[in-house]
């Protein structure tokens, strides 16, 4: 089998000479070539090995449907596998390698699989790897994974850049063949804002494959008209991957991704020619007839001397005639006995020998095609350079079905066409089953007109004068079912699914197309069955079709991620004090999206060293910590008190202006949702703080309740989390520092009592001072507008220098609250009740609140429910870990135990490791010895159950 480049013709630019490499071997081509056409011109016929049997494979197609010629381009950070050579625009210096073959595509050890072909048919995996026991798969998996897949991605970090863009249009036209160009012209000339997306690197669709000057001239004129129209954007290398709700089309444009929101979409995606089934239909040199036509007309590449085309329809005659006109000796093998005289006349004029009532029995040659055996009315074996197949055409329905439209069978063309489309979608041309160029032109125009009516665009174009182009043949096809059941006749080239596999699956009862697909892996490769589905499903009883899902062609993960990579993987959230922390030696830790100051260099180089020193400062002097991440919500309105009273379990009726109350709220399932504080700023204004973790959820919950449940309440809630920076001033010397900051204010124990709130002015800046403590020491929270937070922070630190004030980080903040027994996110995992954490008495029994009824359900009142406990480590040389499972000392260590550890820290007061956790309620006895087991590290430690309040149970320090 040999191909040759004709000395002239085609749409290539012979003045632009390009050089690329495949597996290190240089390949020459011209501007306008694809990698596939350059390889074909260079007689590189074997381009890889098949998936399962490692059979030599070559080009079949010339477009996106190519199942075999998959290449890997680039290396390391730019490596991209599984690209069809037919979709790679040839570029100077491009390097590619073939896939799925070792050591080479010409000699591949994997080909030994062909010896066992009889044993590894459909369902082989399912039948074989399930035994001998339940764990068998664990053994087989690593071997199968090693053998599976086609190309391989690089483990190197990608250096490709993938940008994203959003576009909007009145009409999105997908495809630039006759129907697409016609639709785009009509819509754009009427004044609609149009985007035309074409997956090829040049516009024209099927007209690029035509030898007829009239089509080329019309295309040229149409493109000139479009390029001169400011209403339209023409996108090449633009593959629409999927259509989503709201008519969102996700389009890969080169390396980038565009999200196009279109008011209407016109699908003009053409059709794909079907292969035919016969023994050796996968042999390199066997191609689609239309692909041979494209290579001849667009790229000036033809078989060296003799071509045989097998067909069951008229369209192959066009391919045959085009190739014959270029000096190729062509034989047409038509399985039909009755053929239109017109087709036969044209073939005769072109000097083509037509063999009717016959088909291909088998192909021969190793590894590439050298001859073909014909069977039927005529039986003979003919040597040849190439074999074309034309089993009819399948409209490219993929995108039309993404919004749920079910394809319907159209007997006249023996193919599925789009079913009822959503109102803003239209299909035109071959993808709608409308074959013939003039019919496509007119349908493209008509569908654009329909879209304009839907859009209400009045500025209709001048009466459209559509040309009558030649040739225009509405092809005839016989709706035949494949009869072969051979192991050598491939239905799905990429998945190595044969006619025998399909027959076997049907015999085993997998007659539903969706079952058949999964059992045989039919159409599950990167080509998504573009050439295989029609033939396989024709073997199923009645018209059948599987479900089309995005993407239409493979999508790079990088194109999905866009620029959300590296430091942009997710948003980061910074405190208004972030710069201060950075400059002053803070080490940061990620807490959700936030970067928080974990510990400071003044206290140590490691967190273990630093947080203990920071705790010491708070317990014995005074510390300052950034708590800006707390959720903060401004609640205003005449019903604000009523609203909060319904939301919180506490009775807030008695909360007077200037006072703060610690409170908790439940989900409507009666479980603990969040805790925080409510400060009454004015009779109708409250300042609510939430935990950092639940800030967004609490805000949403409030909005939900106000907008859906309690619409009668006049309340307005606004998140002011970002408006206010906040800092916690804690320690026995905190009041002294506060007094130095607010020289003219009364911050005494009576002037600013525990759980009081006051608004102080500091150089015209309002500062909310809330006296409360998370650490267990005398404490204040200072909240001020974020713009002034750093200035206030620095002022407090300056003022506190005589008292030895130091900043302390998140680790110390958490450690201090564990000592005090305050719950935080680790204890509030949405599975615990108010009573579980010992806050049941806080709930009012004089009013109703969200979650009240379900809080009292029997399950939540069970004495066996795990309750909050304090834990002391009895073995100081061992480690206690959060998440460890708790058991009674004499329990058999198995299962989920009687509770778990939630928080662990070093206690500066007790000089030991302590923790909080939950333990089965009816087993809690103070000082009881239990064990904590951490199976991941095979650790067991002895603990003592104690009160969760390790320090200052009477609250003396708080009220100091």
């Amino acid at each position: 089998m040999t191909f040759k480049r004709l000395p002239e013709g085609g749409m290539i630019d012979r003045n632009v000479k390009l050089s690329a490499r495949l597996d290190g071997v240089r390949v020459h081509g011209f501007g306008g070539d694809t990698f596939a056409s350059a390889l074909l011109a260079a007689n590189k016929i074997v381009l890889g090995r098949s998936f399962k049997y490692h059979r030599p494979r070559g080009l079949i197609a010339a477009g996106a449907e190519e199942p075999n010629a998959l290449l890997t381009i680039g290396k390391k950070g730019t490596q991209i596998p599984n690209l069809p050579a037919t979709q790679i625009e040839l570029a100077d210096g491009l390097k590619a390698k073939t896939q799925n073959a070792w050591p080479s595509k010409h000699f591949d050890f994997g080909a030994i699989n062909q010896t066992f072909a009889a044993f590894i048919g459909a369902g082989f995996y399912y039948k074989t790897f399930k035994s001998p026991g339940r764990k068998a798969w664990m053994f087989y998996e690593k071997f199968i994974r090693r053998a599976a897949g086609l190309g391989k991605t690089s483990t190197a970090k990608s250096t490709l850049r993938h940008d994203t863009a959003n576009s909007f249009c009145d009409v999105l036209v997908v495809g630039s063949g006759p129907a697409g160009l016609s639709a785009a012209l009509t819509a754009a000339q009427a004044g609609a804002n149009v985007i035309l997306a074409e997956q090829d690197f040049i516009l024209g669709g099927s007209t690029l494959s035509s030898a007829y000057a009239a089509q080329a001239e019309w295309r040229k004129a149409a493109l000139e008209a479009l390029q001169g129209n400011s209403n339209i954007r023409l996108l090449t290398n633009a593959t629409v991957k999927g259509i989503y709700d709201g008519d969102l089309a996700v389009v890969a444009v080169g390396d980038d991704t565009h999200s196009i929101r279109a008011r209407t979409i016109i699908f003009a995606t053409g059709a794909t020619e079907r292969p035919m089934l016969f023994d050796g239909n996968d042999r390199p040199g066997v191609m689609l007839a239309s692909a041979l036509q494209t290579y001849a007309n667009r790229f000036a590449i033809v078989p060296a001397s003799r071509l045989i085309i097998a067909t069951n329809n008229d369209s192959a005659y066009d391919s045959a005639i085009d190739l014959a006109s270029k000096g190729v000796e062509v034989f047409l093998v038509d399985e039909r006995s009755v053929i239109s005289g017109h087709a036969l006349d044209r073939a005769a004029v072109a000097g083509i020998a037509v063999i009717t009532g016959s088909t291909i029995k088998a192909t021969h040659g190793a590894p590439v095609l050298d001859s073909v055996t014909i069977t039927g009315k005529t039986n003979l074996t003919l040597p040849c350079d190439a074999l074309g197949m034309s089993g009819g055409w399948s409209p490219t329905l993929h995108l039309t079905a993404h919004q749920g439209s079910k394809p319907v069978w159209q007997e006249a063309i023996a193919a599925h066409v789009p079913g009822a489309l959503v109102p803003s979608h239209f299909a035109a041309g071959a993808c709608n089953g409308t074959f013939g160029i003039n019919a496509a032109l007119r349908e493209g125009d008509a569908k654009a007109q329909a879209a304009l009516v839907l859009l209400g665009i009045k500025g209709m174009p001048a009466p459209t004068t559509l040309p009558v182009l030649k040739p225009d043949h509405i092809y005839a096809i016989i709706a035949s079912k494949p009869t072969t059941q051979s192991r050598e006749a491939f239905v799905d080239f990429q998945g190595d699914v044969t006619a025998k596999d399909v027959k076997q699956a049907l015999d085993e009862g997998y007659s539903n197309p969706e079952h058949l697909k999964r059992y045989t892996t039919l159409g599950m490769g990167t080509d998504q069955g573009k050439t295989s589905n029609a033939n396989a499903l024709a073997m199923v009883e009645g018209p059948a079709m599987t479900t089309f899902r995005p993407p239409y062609t493979p999508f790079l993960i990088g194109q999905i991620a866009g620029r959300s990579v590296g430091p942009h993987f997710r948003p980061t959230r910074l405190s208004p004090l972030h710069d201060w922390h950075r400059i002053n030696g803070a080490t940061f830790i990620e807490a959700g999206l936030r970067k928080r100051a974990w510990f400071y260099a003044w206290a140590g180089a490691t967190v273990e060293e630093a947080y203990r020193k920071e705790m010491e400062v708070v317990r014995h002097a005074v510390g300052l910590s950034d708590v800006s991440s707390l959720g903060k919500i401004d609640v205003q309105g005449k019903d604000a008190l009523e609203f909060l009273n319904r939301l919180y379990v506490n009775n807030l009726e008695s909360l007077s202006v200037g006072r703060v109350r610690y409170g908790a709220m439940l989900n409507d399932d009666g479980l603990l949702f969040d805790d925080g504080t409510v400060a009454r700023i004015a009779p109708t204004q409250f300042y609510v703080t939430t935990t950092t973790a639940n800030a967004g959820d609490v805000m949403s919950w409030m909005e939900f309740l106000l907008q859906t449940q309690w619409r009668d309440l006049s309340v307005h809630v606004t998140s002011v989390t970002d408006e206010f920076g906040a800092m916690a001033l804690s320690g026995p010397k905190a009041r002294e520092v506060l007094a130095q900051v607010f020289l003219n204010e009364d911050v005494s124990n009576t002037g600013l009592a525990h759980m009081a709130v006051k608004q102080f002015k500091l150089q015209d800046v309002q500062v909310r001072v809330l006296r409360m403590s998370f650490s267990g020491e005398l404490g204040y929270e200072l909240h001020c507008p974020a713009a002034y937070t750093q200035a206030l922070w620095e002022r407090v630190l300056k003022a506190g220098e005589p008292q030895g004030i130091k900043p302390y980080g998140l680790e110390a903040l958490a450690a201090l609250r564990i000592e005090k027994g305050h719950i935080a996110s680790p204890e509030m995992d949405k599975r615990v009740s108010l009573d579980d954490v010992g806050l049941g008495k806080m709930a009012s029994n004089k009013k109703s609140y969200v979650g009240e009824v379900l809080r009292h359900r029997a399950e939540l009142q069970s004495p066996q429910r795990p309750r909050l406990v304090g834990l002391e480590l009895m073995e100081p040389d061992k480690k206690l870990r959060g998440g460890a499972i708790l058991f009674a000392a004499d329990d058999k260590v198995t299962g989920h135990g009687r509770g778990h550890v939630t928080s662990v820290t070093w206690s500066t007061d007790l000089n030991m490791i302590i923790g909080l956790g939950f333990f089965q309620g009816d087993m809690i006895v103070e000082n009881r010895e239990i064990v904590a087991v951490f199976p991941l590290k095979n650790e067991t430690v002895r603990l003592r159950l104690v009160s969760p309040h390790f320090i200052d149970r009477g609250g003396t320090r708080l009220h100091a």
């Binding site: 850049r161 940008d163 994203t164 863009a165 959003n166 576009s167 909007f168 804002n193 980038d256 999200s259 929101r261 620029r563 959300s564 430091p567 942009h568 997710r570 948003p571 980061t572 959230r573 910074l574 405190s575 208004p576 972030h578 710069d579 936030r594 401004d634 205003q636 309105g637 204004q685 006049s714 307005h716 606004t718 002011v720 989390t721 970002d722 408006e723 206010f724 500091l762 150089q763 015209d764 800046v765 507008p785 974020a786 713009a787 002034y788 750093q790 200035a791 206030l792 002022r795």
Partner: protein
């Protein structure tokens, strides 16, 4: 007066056809209340998506019963007023490629026909909420949350580098 710090330290960035700079020092207040109270005490309510300029204030209706006001604080007795000036960062985008940059980062149609002068959109950039406002002269203001300001800025600068 304590020193105020802008979220981005008055950052600026220039590239081919695009300029970004922080535009700090603004007063932003959210007013909420009944439609009658808002009209009577705050001002005329503009349509959603279009700002209204009145006296020294710019009004953005961003909810059924609320309006965001840029400019001097308006005294009100029956509406809830919440100061948001410190909680927002403002980034000014100018240059011929400004709409292209915005289109790269936000799912909004920024064509002049769809997003003319005074148009505004509440949308998201890199998962964070923003309000984008079109001003005369091809100037756009992006209001983002202060805590996400650096993230927003970095995202915009990165996107600008990707414009072709």
């Amino acid at each position: 007066m304590l020193d105020a710090r802008s979220p981005l330290g008055r950052a600026a960035f220039d590239a081919d056809g695009i300029s970004l700079r922080e535009a700090p020092d603004f007063t932003l207040t959210l007013y909420a209340g009944s439609a009658i109270s808002l009209r009577r005490e705050v001002g005329e309510m503009p349509d959603f998506g279009h700002s209204l300029q009145a006296n020294r204030n710019t009004f953005f209706r961003n909810g059924p019963n609320q309006v965001l006001v840029l400019g001097p604080v308006i005294e009100t007795r029956n509406c809830a007023a919440t100061a948001l000036s410190s909680g927002r960062a403002r980034i000014e985008v100018t240059g011929p490629k400004a709409p292209v940059l915005l289109g790269a980062v936000a799912a909004v149609d920024f064509s002049p026909a769809a997003f003319g002068v005074n148009a505004f959109a509440q949308t998201a950039i890199h998962h964070t909420p923003v309000l984008i406002h079109a001003l005369p002269g091809g100037v756009y203001h992006i209001y983002g949350l202060r805590s996400f300001a650096q993230n927003l800025w970095d995202w915009l600068v990165d996107a600008a580098a990707g414009l072709r």
